[in-house]
């Protein structure tokens, strides 16, 4: 595909406007149907019995008492699941081993984390289901648990699996270990690079486990019919990937399963894996009734999501003029209870913003007795980059450079290589840094009362392509209907309508966007990876173009000329011979039936040309020297978004992502007991930002169009969660003179840092 040149960038008719989202009224009136809103008159209520132990061998499960209880209709355990091979398959945004997928849904021989599903009950009401589940007698042999990835690395640490050995660069080791993957990237000559450096910094960092924190708990309702056809209503980021996973775990044909994606109450990556769906199907197969399962908030915290806790050692070498000459990075990522590869993703991100001649990156994915980690908004990038950004800030202070100038000096540009060898196409890091530097916020003096300061940091996410399908049907009145397989988490229906409208010369309101189920459109991957507006938007564009090409033939019939003699420009078909008045879609549409019938464009794609996203955040903060509480005085997020299709939802993604990053930086963490139990599995003790905790976040949209997309879209949603940890950390360091190298920088931790080292501001 030739790169797109975007001659109309900044001059579009519909792109860049802010229409009311098409699904808006349903969502402000309570009519929108989310997963838990589904109800069938004959439905049964399911309840999942979960392991009270973080690590235990399951010796026996006795369901007899529970089965005898009135109102109990079915009980399932892992014995009801087909045995699956030890085989890796693609799943959502990552890869997963089939056997482990099955064991994650219902434990077979071992419970590997507190909350690991053991059995499930379907009953006539939720109370009976819960009582019956608690009447199931399970005998455990409790084992020592390990929840911290660094602890899990130690010699003699409890092993989750007897048969897992480390794979390093494709080579298997012999000894059983908790390290399930070792990723390494190397370039140049590390020793020579550091020898050349004038300043070398070597620092250690830690981050805690955090959760995506979507407000809607996981839910699933399934109906298994006697003819073998199954319908699943669920809250998922991808109906098709959910169907793939359900079919894999239950060993069924895809065509036997229809997944109907309900409205989704947030996901942030955490609603890519399935949890309850196969259980609901098994219970429905046994009872013949629809079975509904909804997680409690404690279940959500203890058994879904989270994002990896990490430990890092970061060593960077600089020349006196600020040039980065060498980097040595070691990191360990919590994988949770089953092997995964999110650490490998962190290895792609950790030094991505900077040009580096000499580097080595080693990242371990480490098994722990915690739920298997899932994607969380720019998965693995925040944990990787904030430490680098801390060292960049230290270096800027030591070298007497402006922190943005230091980053500009080393910023990657088109043609440079990411540490894993990927060559950058056109990216907008430099433009983003320049916009941050030119911003009113950055040009204004930093706050200068005691314990106040400003911090900046950069963030990166590569964004994703993956598969998408779309149809665009032209209605006889000249409006259009757009159908895609991408669930709408944050306004994507409006973006799809805008891109179709732009392509067809219509208004956004003249396009009706619809999210289809798995029986109604071609395969479409998850709403995740910041890919929906890029990839599904691209499919919508191509489907609209397909409709335009078909309509050219109709106009050619009416004008008695060749389709090639007709151009579609400025929202109208025009004769290249100038013999006819231009004809809009609206004018042509009523004539479709008598020129050959209806017109529907379609496209199914796997697009290349993904455009990476870079952001730079500026935070002004004040530290309360008594309590250690950090107050944000002002916050600005700058990001290269490629092209903002619906700027209000682009800004919303950026300020929402920044807010999650602020929560991660300052407050959010899993607190574990020494037995591996999460002690704060609720919103009261797992403190997410409220309206009182964040100021009005200003956003600055930089638009360096992506040559890989017809309208220059890069993808927006994930990058903004990456810079806040570094920006907050750097601001705190400059305010109090101490670097808090562990997340979250919660009041007790900041207070402790203050107590150990009296406040002495670093000169800015």
């Amino acid at each position: 595909m030739e790169p797109f040149t975007h001659p109309r960038h900044g001059k579009y008719d519909v792109i860049g406007t802010r229409p009311i989202r098409h699904d808006g009224e349903d969502k402000v009136t309570g009519r929108a149907q989310y997963g838990a809103d589904i109800h069938f008159p004959d439905q049964l209520h399911g309840y999942v019995l979960r392991s009270p132990h973080a690590h235990a061998r399951i010796l026996s499960i006795d369901t007899r008492k529970a089965e005898a209880m009135p109102g109990v209709k079915a009980i399932v355990t892992s014995k009801d699941l087909p045995r699956l091979p030890d085989k890796i398959i693609e799943s959502g945004e990552g890869v997963e081993n089939q056997k482990y997928m099955s064991d994650r849904i219902l434990a077979s021989d071992k419970a590997l984390f507190k909350g690991h599903p053991i059995a499930a009950v379907a009953a006539t009401d939720p109370w009976t289901a819960e009582e019956a589940a608690n009447a199931i007698e399970v005998q455990y042999e409790v084992l020592e648990a390990v929840t911290d990835p660094v602890e899990a690395l130690r010699e003699g640490a409890p092993l989750l699996f007897d048969r897992i050995t480390t794979t390093t660069l494709g080579q298997k080791e012999v000894k059983a270990t908790n390290v399930c993957l070792h990723t390494r990237h190397q370039r140049g000559d590390l020793a020579a690079g550091f020898a050349e450096a004038d300043e070398v910094f070597e620092r250690e960092f830690k981050t805690a486990t955090v959760h995506q924190g979507y407000i809607e708990p996981q839910n699933a309702t399934a109906l298994a019919r006697s003819d073998g056809h199954i319908t699943v209503w669920t809250s998922t980021q991808g109906a098709f990937p959910a169907r793939d996973q359900i079919a894999t775990v239950l060993k069924k044909d895809l065509s036997k399963i229809r997944v109907i994606p309900m409205e989704i109450g947030g996901g942030f990556g955490g609603k890519i894996p399935i949890y309850l769906e196969p259980v609901a199907v098994l219970l429905s197969e046994k009872t013949g009734h629809p079975v509904k399962l909804v997680m409690s908030r404690a279940d959500v915290f203890q058994t879904t999501g989270p994002a990896s806790a990490t430990a890092a050692k970061i060593k960077l070498g600089f020349k006196k003029d600020g040039t980065l000459v060498a980097a040595d990075v070691w990191m360990a990522y919590e994988a949770g209870a089953f092997p995964g590869n999110w650490g490998a993703t962190g290895a792609m991100c950790v030094l991505a913003p900077y040009r580096l001649p000499n580097l080595q990156i080693d990242v371990l994915d480490v098994l722990t007795n915690t739920p298997k980690v899932a994607a969380y908004r720019a998965p693995s990038s925040p944990q990787a980059l904030w430490g680098v950004e801390s060292v960049m800030d230290e270096a800027a202070l030591k070298l007497g450079m402006d922190p943005i100038d230091l980053r500009l000096k080393n910023a990657a540009v088109e043609g440079d290589q990411r540490p894993d060898g990927y060559t950058w196409p056109r990216i907008g890091l430099v433009e983003t840094l320049q916009a941050a530097k030119a911003s009113e916020h950055y040009r204004s003096p930093p706050p200068n009362k005691p314990n106040q300061a400003r911090g900046v940091a950069v963030g990166y996410w590569h964004n994703a392509g993956l598969q998408s399908s779309a149809t665009v049907a032209i209605n006889m009145d000249g409006t259009a209907s757009v159908v895609t397989g991408s669930v709408d988490i944050g306004g994507s229906r409006a973006s799809m309508a805008i891109m179709a409208a732009e392509t067809l010369g219509l208004k956004a309101e003249e396009v009706r966007p619809l999210v289809a189920d798995t029986d109604s459109i071609g395969h479409t991957d998850v709403t995740g990876g910041s890919r929906t507006t890029f990839a599904t938007g691209y499919a919508v564009y191509l489907a609209a173009q397909d409709a335009v090409e078909q309509m050219k033939h109709r106009v050619a019939k009416l004008w008695d000329c060749k389709p090639d003699d007709i151009a579609f420009e400025g929202g109208a078909f025009r004769s290249k011979q100038n013999g006819h008045e231009p004809m809009t879609v609206r004018k042509l549409a009523p004539q479709l039936p008598r020129t050959g019938g209806p017109v529907q464009g379609q496209a199914s794609i796997l697009p290349k040309g993904v455009g990476a996203g870079f952001g730079c955040h500026i935070a002004d903060i004040e530290v309360d020297s008594e309590t250690g509480k950090v107050t944000i005085l002002r916050y600005t997020a700058v990001q290269d978004v490629g092209t903002a299709i619906h700027p209000a939802y682009v800004e919303g993604q950026i300020s929402g992502g920044a807010t999650q990053g602020i929560g991660w930086a300052l407050n959010e963490e899993y607190v574990h007991s020494d037995k591996g139990e999460m002690l704060n599995a609720g919103f009261l003790d797992y403190r997410m930002p409220t309206a009182l905790d964040v100021p009005n976040i200003d956003t600055i949209l930089v638009e360096v169009p992506n040559p890989g997309h017809p309208y220059g879209v890069r993808g927006v949603g994930e990058t903004p969660i990456v810079p806040p940890m570094g920006a907050m950390h750097n601001a705190i360091a400059r305010a109090i003179g101490v670097r808090v190298r562990e997340l979250p920088m919660s009041p007790p931790r900041v207070q402790a840092a203050l107590a150990h080292q009296p406040a002495k501001p670093i000169p800015a």
Partner: protein, 163 residues
Amino acid sequence: MSNGTKRIITATINGNETTMAIDNRMSLLQALRDVAGMTGTKEGCLTGDCGACSVILNGRVVDSCLVMAAEADGAQLETVEGMARGQELHPLQTQFLEHAALQCGICTPGFLVAAKALLDRNPNPTEEEIRYWLAGNLCRCTGYRTIIEAVQDAAAELKTSAR
């Protein structure tokens, strides 16, 4: 049904007298959603920490997950389903749409109901008052700015309208 006893309660929901056969163990949230079939009120935590289930009970905003359904017998209830008047959306609803103050939308009914309770008693809230009032409602998508601005503009609109 084990150990459950039922009772009949009558509450005025959005101006309509509604009789419900409830299980004694039910929360008001469950009664609204599972008995009355009004699923606009959302469940986020069942511990009163997220505000997604906010309703107005006898003029006060409450987390309906923390109220027993039996307690609502004889009560006046307002939910998100009652905010629009016929085809006319409440200014809060309109302003949430204008400001793009929702992304996934699951917290939106709770924010709308809580904000309505605020404006019912304080038509001129400051930004700080709005932030304090809404601190019991969690939104994980927006970062709150658009929500605060929508409430401010709705307050201004309500002052000039006859509503």
